[in-house]
Subunit: 249 residues, 2 copies
DNA sequence: ATATTATTTGCTGTTTTATGCAATTTTATT
DNA sequence: AATAAAATTGCATAAAACAGCAAATAATAT
């Protein structure tokens, strides 16, 4: 039996049951426990699973609390959040969207800056509420279970009655020529309302979501005033956006 | 059973019930109490929960009262919450107030009951959002930092446009003859609006807050339809309320 | 093909870790 | 203060991890 086959079997078992015992694997593969131990050690070093005393567990199984997306994506979001935070001005009235990138942005807001923040995201509101100099105003309405934001007529209604200096939206899918899109109609509606309610709109966007589209349109690309990504843009790349009135950051 | 699995089970139980007894866990996992104690100790050191005498409690219950180090300190609130939950009917449209007692109530709502819940409390909304059969509608407005609820004109405005079957309010200070009071004017305003928006009002109240008053009046005692406390009331005690149209539970 | 080298595997003894039990101390409640 | 429950401590046992070694296997060079 080849090592690679064993590795494959172990990974399959881990995915299937969320956990395995070294003794079970050793018996099933008919190899010594030491071999299994060495296999699991390697797989652990390759970050394919997590080795624990007596066995191994699936990576996804580790925590149910803070959705531990991959670490790489998180670091990208933090880069974006830091860039966006540098745009903040004292005393501003802003809006912060839902989603993990915007949550990261909310977390990174300095404690000494004075802001009035509208939001429709429950986690964002919780985070902002711990900033001593931020006044939080929550946009009410029906709560979307997965997204943890308010959606629906009540939300768009309330949004139609407010005006903010800057909105920071973390919307999904951006195509230079077609504009911003999303796959959820309700979410598209609130995002449209948010953009309408803001004098300037800042888009927080991971580069991998560039040049992709979904079912429903939010707005044209030039409805965005500033786009923040994790990249350092060179002139060639910037040219793509040159015809649109978007500031790339 | 791997240690990691036990940890996960313990954490899940803590999230669900806010508190667990070491003896319960030991029985459920079929390990000795010492093992459970060691597990909980580790989880405490990892800040995944808070270990207390006899068990563990969920974080977020950092009630910074000095001697809240026993597992039964929450029991009054849980007794009230359980009583109140028994009043729930399938399909009802209800409102849930802020505060720790109401949060306890929200947590204890059975997973299988179908409800539409309005709330103005961020923690309550987060909890309800994890109940598969509860539709959550958040009352928007300015967020009160300490209370973690919405206050102000925006909130009372939105409340004036809704009507619920039952509201569960966890207001502070109750005096049989004078009525309900509180020391925060803004909170009094929203509570008044809530009572107005509900066909029936249920008051969740720890007995120690009975017969005390504060600056601002919320309503008369007979504006309350049902009062839930942690006590078993005898006839003598009930007589106090006999002249008012309040159902004591 | 054969010899040489490198890698893998299983075994041994040792060390570490996990677990349960009993005796003692601490804590909470009446 | 008295009592009962829980925490702590020390200890024994067993399981697992580890390190080193030698045989077996695979890879490579000659």
């Amino acid at each position: 039996m080849l090592k690679e086959e064993r590795h494959q079997t172990i990974l399959t078992q881990v995915e299937l049951h969320n956990r395995v015992l070294l003794t079970d694997i050793a018996e099933r593969l008919d190899v010594s426990i030491d071999t299994v131990r060495r296999d699991v050690k390697e797989l652990d070093q390759e970050s394919k699973l997590r080795k624990v005393h007596g066995g191994a567990i699936s990576l996804g199984y580790t925590t149910n609390s803070t959705r531990n997306n991959n670490i790489y994506a998180l670091s990208q979001k933090i880069i974006i959040a830091e860039k966006a935070a540098s745009l903040l001005k004292n005393g501003a009235v802003i809006f912060i969207d839902g989603g993990t990138t915007c949550l990261e942005f909310a977390r990174i807001i300095p404690l000494d800056i004075q802001l009035t923040c509208f939001t429709l995201s429950l986690p964002v509101a919780m985070v902002l509420n711990n900033k001593p100099n931020v006044e939080v105003i929550f946009v009410g309405g029906q709560i979307s279970r997965e997204a943890q934001i308010t959606i629906g007529a009540m939300a768009t209604n309330m949004l139609s009655e407010i005006k903010v200096d800057y909105s920071f939206i973390g919307t999904g899918y951006v195509d230079v020529s077609y504009g911003l899109t999303d796959f959820d109609w309700d979410i598209v509606q609130v995002k449209k309302a948010v953009i309408k309610a803001s004098k300037k709109t800042v888009l927080l966007c991971i580069s991998e979501k560039l040049n992709s589209q979904h079912r429903y349109k939010i707005c044209d690309i030039n409805a965005i005033d500033t786009m923040v990504t994790e990249l350092d843009w060179n002139d060639d790349q910037l040219k793509l956006f040159s015809s649109h009135d978007v500031h790339i950051f």
